[in-house]
Symmetry: C2
């Protein structure tokens, strides 16, 4: 018997009546004659022509949507339009049945909400097949980008004892009996008896540990899961998400921005090259979805156009202060259309402001720099003005903040002073401070929220649809 | 001023008196004249020749081990042996001082135990620089291997509500107030009020979710952190470690073994090609270490030879039953040298037995198959003999089990029966069983413990030395 060939390869094969074997799942079976079979290697199905007059009726009945088949036959030029080849089946074997009365995925359009509830099966739809193939390509593109530049991939810890950055939004990790935890004489929970001998939680960022690597290996990046116990039921937040966090010794803020912009362009370009068919499908999906919306809410560009536009244009770089000036004078601010009106310098930017800058004012990705130190983290390098820090956020159309980074404060005294001001425990972070004590140097880094990137490239509207099994308040199914 | 060039690139540059700039950390400073500077891009240092007669004494004093420097100078052919080029310094700038009285990393040999306590600085040693560059290459090689074969990288969840596989060894994840958790009327902890609305823990494996992906995308792999709250203080166990778990639809046990063997050979070969210098250094390190051991404990092969041997030889494949026969008749069993004597079929193999097979009997990697079902997991495919399952473990010299896998039980009835027998809650795994209800098919997969792979390729003896910040009982520092 012929060895199995994947459908992606098969569709690129010259048909010459040769025998082939495919394995996959039935998408549709029309007129007892045409099976559309998919194996996940591509968005396209292979059409299998069944000689229904000479095929056992009991077998025909088992060819139902979702059933797993092994089909052997001859590869011929397709008579139908839309694809080059068909298989004329000689042998069909049902590897796994799928009861059409019970199978949740009927051959019709299901809502994304419904598919989220059967996330274990949604991989089998065109939309989610495309999304997870694009996600895969973006992951690999991230690695390739950094490897080509000599960065070291560093696995920073997921379980951590430091909550310096967590601000109370870190999940606790424990091995204690929750029902009856050991207590100290003074009645407090005795974490000394816990697995790690202290209270631990899930990391909210690998940055601080990443900096330790950069202070020896020059350029490192992390790519791992991070966690936020934030009760945000939005389309942009997850309790468990993947982050990419490069840290570079000897980089300043401008180098940092250059690298982040190059990374984003590289990975988008990679996906366009390797997943053209998937992105074309998702573009069509979005265009269809748009048609049901009122005219003023529709996208000006298709997904493909938006991605290409991102590649072709420099990101707009401006300071926070310049952005505030633009926002203060903007029509929605003057007409009081913003929920949070911009009254002056120092305000934290809300999503509505970011979207105005990106989608209305500049109409392209924007990098904002030099934010007020009060609204940024303790480790960001203080500028000479005494008011701002060398931060940079990259804002994307439809997404908002996709990258947040900064030059890091390498001067021990300035760092300690800021930690004191912000109530960050210095003793807990002795190892972080050590890198400023011994051979510290100017350095910078940023974090890229991977799911937000996937959202942007797939054109999906809800972050829960771009990670296989989303974690959010009241949901940890699968 | 010249743009910074990394030392790895610099060492391959033809010296022609051109101006160059390097940045890095001082490893040693001999005779107030020769700085060995390292930037982590390679194991080698660049030698910088200082014109000490014309250099400010205050500056010379600040060139201490660990200090961060920016050096500009001319690239010249080296007068010393061992490397091709030196830099004749024209400008030296100290970017970050390192007080030699306080810097923990003195220019002498430190014990691995001591370096573990300063894991934030150990990246700056030759040994750990090499280890983490090799680890990086192995990571990327894993991705490249699977991407070349059309696998989809799937991020399976870290936080999970199912503890089917955990066997009580999963860490709990919660957002409840541990000191005073909400309770139900009957006095039990009310996990409905927890973040996810139910009790959750850290995953011990992404396999079950991985299978869901494979049942649509054909071939997937995971590469992510997994956790075990096992109180094992050994050189082979971590509480947090990274696993690679491919799952392949339409694979049987033989396909599974072929893939695992090909993967291991590919990544070892990749590291040998891309990290030759690092592996040569680690080989030398191991050979040195060996010299302090009694003759009979020394390795027969050097690290490089061992890696090459792995590439050049087929892994030995035999069944558990055949292995038991060999072990029963073995000298250490007859002479009662094994701690656990092999009396007959059914015994679980201990590390001493695995090592005997691999290191003494076959003297090469071994794949054991078809284990008794009683000592394996519920999801492994039952063989027709009614006694064994289609499992396979790959055993490596010095490491023991590095891969564990199986063909998965695709037959719903057999799977449910086994879950009942083993007390696995079926209702919790409704989604897993669904893939057997709807278009199930023969499939297989395995798990590769990434740190064990890094141990093998680096020749290190303790798993805590091959992950940046190890997590083990009573330790979650950094």
């Amino acid at each position: 018997m012929s060895q199995r060939i994947k459908i992606k390869a098969l569709l690129q094969t010259e048909p010459a009546g040769q025998e082939v074997n495919v394995k996959g799942w039935v998408r549709t079976f029309r007129n007892n004659q045409f099976i559309a079979l998919n194996d996940g290697s591509t968005n396209s199905n292979i059409q299998i022509v069944v000689d229904f007059q000479n095929t056992d009726e009991a077998l025909l009945k088992r060819i139902t949507t979702g059933a797993a088949l092994s089909v052997t036959g001859t590869l011929v030029a397709s008579l139908g339009k839309g694809q080059a080849v068909d298989i004329k089946a000689t042998t069909i074997e049902v590897l796994g049945d799928s009861d059409p009365e019970k199978y949740p995925l009927q051959p019709k359009k299901h809502s994304l909400e419904f598919l989220r509830e059967i996330a274990h099966l949604r991989f089998r739809t065109n939309t989610f097949g495309a999304i997870f193939r694009v996600r895969n390509s973006l992951s690999f593109a991230v690695h390739t980008f950094f490897q080509e530049r000599g960065f070291v991939y560093l696995h920073t810890p997921v379980i951590t004892a430091s909550d310096a950055e967590g601000a109370g939004e870190a999940f606790k990790v424990t091995n204690l009996d929750l029902n009856n935890p050991p207590r100290t004489e003074s009645g407090e929970i005795d974490f000394k008896q816990d697995f790690f001998g202290r209270a631990t939680n899930l990391t909210v960022s690998g940055q601080l540990e990443g900096e330790l690597g950069a202070m020896a290996l020059s350029d490192i990046y992390t790519f791992g899961p991070t966690f936020r116990a934030e009760n945000s039921n939005t389309t942009r937040h997850l309790a468990e998400f993947w982050m990419i966090e490069p840290e570079m010794a000897f980089y300043d803020l401008a180098d940092n921005m250059d690298l982040a912009e190059a990374l984003l362009k590289y990975v988008i370009s990679y996906a366009l090259e390797h997943n053209r068919e998937d992105i074309e499908f998702l573009t069509q999906r979005l265009t269809e979805e748009d048609k049901s919306k009122p005219q003023q809410e529709r996208q000006e560009m298709t997904l493909l156009e938006k991605l290409q536009f991102c590649l072709d244009n420099d990101f707009e770089r401006l300071t926070y202060t310049q952005a505030i000036d633009i926002l203060k004078d903007s029509t929605p601010n003057k007409k009081k259309k913003f929920q949070y009106l911009i009254e002056g310098w120092g305000a934290d930017l809300q999503s509505e402001h970011e979207r105005y800058l990106v989608e209305k004012h500049f109409k392209k990705p924007v990098i904002l720099t030099d934010y007020p130190k009060e609204i940024k983290s303790f480790y960001m390098r203080q500028n000479d003005d005494g008011k701002t820090v060398a931060a940079m956020d990259i804002l994307f159309p439809g997404i908002g903040e996709i990258v947040g980074g900064s030059q890091r404060e390498e001067r021990l005294e300035r760092l300690e002073q800021r930690m004191d001001e912000m109530g960050i425990p210095k003793d807990e972070l002795w190892w972080y401070l050590d890198t400023r004590r011994f051979g510290g140097c100017p350095h910078a880094g940023f974090g890229l929220g991977f799911e937000r990137l996937v959202l942007f490239v797939t054109g999906m509207g809800n972050i829960r649809d771009v990670i296989p099994f989303p974690r959010f308040p009241k949901n940890a199914e699968f």
